[in-house]
């Protein structure tokens, strides 16, 4: 078993707000992230897949194909978008780093051939990242 990690980047806007809470509670919990005009980040994602090395190609997965899947399923949807307003999964979930990792897992799981999705890591910035290993239960 080999683990292969591919990075990709996107830049997006977001804000943190829960409509079931009062404005005061939103401000208290989310601080400056609750500014409804939004703010943005350069996100880096690292997608790790696990699989066996194909004896003919020497690959776990074809990196060109993995890059194209990340581009199609994630980057083309998230890049230079406002996550709350333009990405459907964040109409109902706050686009925290944790929830972005879960959302990317859902977008990729089952779509990468010859391997199993192992981890989605999302960096909001160099000093903050979230990991999701598909632990839904």
């Amino acid at each position: 078993m080999i683990f292969l990690t591919r990075k990709a980047e996107f830049s997006a806007a977001h804000y943190y707000w829960n409509d079931t809470l009062s404005p005061e509670e939103n401000e208290r919990i989310f601080g400056k992230c609750a500014n409804r005009n939004g703010h943005g980040h350069n996100y880096t994602i690292e997608v790790t897949v696990a699989g066996e090395i194909d004896p003919v190609s020497g690959f776990v997965v074809d990196l060109k194909e993995l890059k194209a899947i990340l581009e199609r399923e994630v980057v083309s949807v998230y890049d230079h978008r406002h996550l709350n307003l333009e990405v459907p999964e964040f109409a109902t979930a706050i686009p925290t780093t944790e929830n972005i990792a879960v959302a990317i897992w859902r977008r990729l799981d089952g779509k990468i051939p010859n391997s199993r999705l192992h981890r989605v890591r999302v960096y909001e910035m160099a000093d903050l990242f979230a990991d999701f290993y598909g632990e839904f239960a």
Binding site: Y16, N18, T20, L21, I29, F30, G31, A93, I94, P95, T96, T97, E98, N99, A101, V102, A126, D127, L128, F129, A130, D131, F132, Y133, E135, F136
Partner: protein, 133 residues
């Protein structure tokens, strides 16, 4: 849904590796230039990983404001721009990065809002230590 959140903190501190159990020659042999008498310093990077269920109301494993405030009070205020040898527990324990990692782990185990999973301390970009899973 369980996620793992990692936050990195930076502080700068001096230290000297020296054990009273060794002779001067033994200290020099074991610790080399790290035993030089007046100490030296590093820009340390601490990465703490917390694990837990994502709160459906906030989308968070824990509130980053709470974590940053805890780190400022219990890690950075204590160690940043300080000489580690002058502080507990390094009055009696060599302030290697191994021992520092264990102390940072002990500190963040008291963070009340999420379970500490792992601590990594980088002494330099080429040199890091991990405690936990």
């Amino acid at each position: 849904m369980k996620a793992h959140l990692t936050r990195r903190y930076h502080f700068s501190a001096s230290h000297r590796l020296h054990s009273d159990a060794y002779t001067a020659e033994e200290n020099q042999a074991v610790f080399g230039k790290c035993n030089n008498p007046h100490g030296h310093g590093h820009n340390y990077v601490v990465a703490v990983t917390l694990a837990g269920e994502i709160d459906p109301a906030t989308g968070m494993v824990c509130n980053l404001g709470d974590l940053d405030a805890f780190a400022r009070e219990h890690l950075l205020a204590r160690f940043d721009h300080m000489n580690l040898n002058t502080l507990e527990p390094f009055l009696t324990l060599v302030p290697t990065t191994e021992n520092l990692t264990i102390e940072v782990n002990r500190i963040f185990q008291d963070f009340p809002f999420a379970r500490l999973e792992r601590v990594v301390v980088e002494e330099t970009g080429n040199n890091s230590f991990v405690f936990g899973g």
